[in-house]
């Protein structure tokens, strides 16, 4: 199949407003971070019980989305499925941006950001028994691989064939490593599980695919590029399978912990004060998308499929939150019995302005890079009609530079 790619023109009023809004939000996030850094993290919702908050939740979420996006790209560049080619490049690009977003969150979450270089002093100044340090290797390698992968994909290089499988396997490693960060911690009953790395990668596949579908559809629609509806319908079927796998993994994980006698943690998760997060995960992440994707009428309507994708992505954000917030909030049982006062109380997590603005700012920054990337990189499949009207010279240049892949 001959398919050419072209950047968006970026001259429309809507595009400029979008860039301005995202820039303003990102700038607000930067300012919020500077204020929080100068005043200390007392401005955030975190405390000595719930030590990780919004940023780590978004970090896990972004890493998952990035790994998932890469897997979507593998359909094109590893498995050679030509029909998914229109979203191949965009999937790689999103993988890179989301990983960068994840790194912004994790680095700004450090109490002393100026010492973050210590994380990368592998085998020398850092402790390689720590999952953070091991993941440092994964993350650094992943960013390099993604960058090379994107350059290769954009230039239509044959190297893509070699980089793509390595990048996808590395993405799996990255996200399983991230799952291990929480899964290996026995102290926290909700987090501790040998299933966590597998569950994480499964959630990554589902959420990553859903986000690529949603965002690419919206982008193609707004940039008036050709949309292959059948492609989205078939991706929708794939998404439903991925969600079922994820649901089974989560179910088995929770059932294992639900089985007596040690079931306090799972009871805290499903019926405690944070239960709404878990149930939103289940309803938004699994039930509603599956309801749409298994409905014989709705699953063939691309609008509904895309809506299912968005709901699934939001649901999986709650899945990440359901690990971090209840996981840390559950009181530690130092001694049998009911522990009085603050030491036995569950950890609170207020939504604080500085932390929220920073989280929104990082999401906006990733969005901004995405929108600007569309303007300068050949990510979207070109529309012949559009080129005939508006971008003939650009289209010719694209073709000359190897835009035809």
């Amino acid at each position: 199949m001959q398919l050419s790619f072209a950047p968006v023109q970026g001259t429309s009023r809507k595009y400029k407003i979008l860039v301005a809004v995202l820039f303003a939000l990102a700038l607000t996030g930067v300012i919020a971070y500077i204020i929080a850094y100068l005043n200390g993290f007392k401005l955030w919702g975190i405390n000595n019980s719930v030590t990780w908050g919004q940023l780590i939740t978004v970090d896990f979420f972004f890493i998952g989305l990035s790994a998932g996006s890469l897997v979507v790209s593998s359909l094109v560049y590893v498995l050679g499925q030509e029909r998914y080619k229109p979203i191949g490049r965009i999937a790689v690009f999103m993988g890179l941006l989301l990983m960068m977003g994840a790194m912004f969150t994790v680095v700004t979450d450090l109490g002393r950001i100026e010492k973050c270089w210590r994380l990368f002093m592998f085998f020398y100044l850092n402790n390689m028994k720590c999952l953070f340090a091991i993941n440092g290797i994964f993350y650094a390698g992943y960013l390099l691989l993604l960058f090379t992968y994107l350059v290769a994909a954009l230039s239509g290089s044959k190297l893509t064939k070699f980089i793509a499988p390595v990048a996808v396997l590395w993405a799996v490693l990255v996200h399983m490593g991230t799952g291990a960060i929480v899964g290996f911690i026995e102290t926290r009953g909700i987090m501790y599980s040998p299933m966590k790395p597998v569950e994480f990668i499964s959630a990554a596949f589902a959420s990553g695919l859903a986000l690529v579908m949603f965002l690419s559809y919206i982008t193609l629609k707004f940039s008036k590029r050709p949309i292959d509806k059948n492609m989205y319908v078939s991706l929708g079927r794939m998404l439903s399978v991925l969600i079922i796998i994820l649901m089974v993994l989560v179910l088995v994980d929770k059932l294992t912990h639900f089985y007596p006698p040690k079931r306090e943690s799972v009871m805290f998760l499903i019926s405690g004060p944070w239960a709404w997060i878990f149930w939103l995960q289940v309803v938004l992440g699994y039930f509603i998308p599956l309801g749409i994707l298994f409905n014989p009428w709705l699953r063939k309507k691309v609008g509904w499929v895309i809506a299912a994708c968005l709901i699934c992505v939001v649901g999986i954000l709650f899945e990440r939150a359901a690990i971090v917030l209840p996981g840390l909030s559950q009181p530690l049982q130092y001694y049998p019995g009911e522990i009085a006062g603050i030491w036995g109380a569950r950890g609170g997590f207020p939504i604080m302005i500085a932390e929220t603005l920073q989280t929104v700012g990082i999401v906006a920054l990733v969005g901004l890079l995405y929108v600007v990337g569309l303007r300068y990189l050949e990510l979207l499949p070109a529309s012949n009609g559009e080129h005939a009207q508006g971008e003939p010279a650009e289209h010719a240049a694209t073709a000359a530079e190897g835009g035809h892949t």
């Binding site: 200390g40 993290f41 007392k42 109490g111 210590r118 994380l119 028994k129 720590c130 049998p336 009911e338």
Partner: protein
């Protein structure tokens, strides 16, 4: 090398919190405001919990003082990416503020809630001892005398040190360390020294003649959260 440990006799503890206060004073731990208490953002190196079982009138409340457990297998050391949490040769688990990057993974991993994050730059009025000189040297091997942290670093994790500065100072000067059977105690951590009911004992767990070893040999000591397999060196004589 010694292997320092602490034994707390729960039968003698009256829950007066003198240990918590002594710890705050000795290590210059900030007071913390009411707001910070409410938000659970204040710093405690030592806490006293009250665990209640049963219902009135058949009720039992157990008061348990909790410094850091200085585990033999500390989860915090395993998870620290920056080698900022280390177990010294004498078993004391230390936090190096120069190395700590403030990721708070150790707080997630600690089964005893012994760790606290410093959420702000502490003002002088927050301290018990604002008269102390500023901290200039936190390097290994050399520290600046008995009060090691007059002004603390924001954005890092802190914890109990078994008053390592007292122990090191005693070792340098050849003073006796630990609780003694005859009541003529050597140098002790501040919490042990301050206990009005003498419910706490400190000493070398590897020395068969030390008081803590003899108490351990009585066979009645318990460890908190034994299922975590951390093998804490702060142990308890049940009531």
């Amino acid at each position: 090398m010694a292997n320092w440990g602490m034994i707390i006799d729960l039968g003698k503890c009256v829950g007066c919190q003198a240990c918590s206060l002594a710890c705050k004073a000795e290590n210059n731990v900030p007071h913390g405001s009411l707001y910070e208490q409410k938000r659970h953002q204040d710093i405690y190196w030592h806490k006293v919990i009250a665990a209640t079982e049963g219902e009135y009138p058949a009720v039992n409340t157990q008061i348990i003082p909790m410094p850091c457990m200085h585990c033999e297998h500390p989860p915090c050391v395993n998870v620290c990416p920056a080698k900022a949490t280390v177990k010294r040769g004498d078993g004391i688990v230390m936090q190096n503020f120069r190395r700590c990057i403030g990721c708070r993974y150790c707080m997630v991993a600690c089964p005893y809630g012994a760790r606290n994050f410093n959420f702000k730059t502490q003002e002088d009025k927050e301290y018990q001892r604002p008269d102390l000189p500023p901290d200039l040297d936190l390097g290994y091997g050399s520290h600046i005398g008995p009060w090691p942290y007059p002004h603390r670093t924001r954005g890092v994790v802190e914890k109990c040190t078994y008053c390592f500065h007292r122990i090191d100072q005693a070792l340098e000067n050849g003073w006796e360390i630990g609780s003694k059977m005859d009541g003529e105690d050597g140098v002790l951590p501040a919490c042990v020294e301050a206990c009005p009911t003498e419910a706490r004992y400190f000493g070398d767990l590897d020395d068969p003649e030390s008081m803590v070893s003899k108490l351990l040999a009585s066979g009645t000591c318990i460890k908190l959260r034994e299922e975590m397999a951390t093998d804490p060196k702060t142990r308890y004589l049940p009531r």
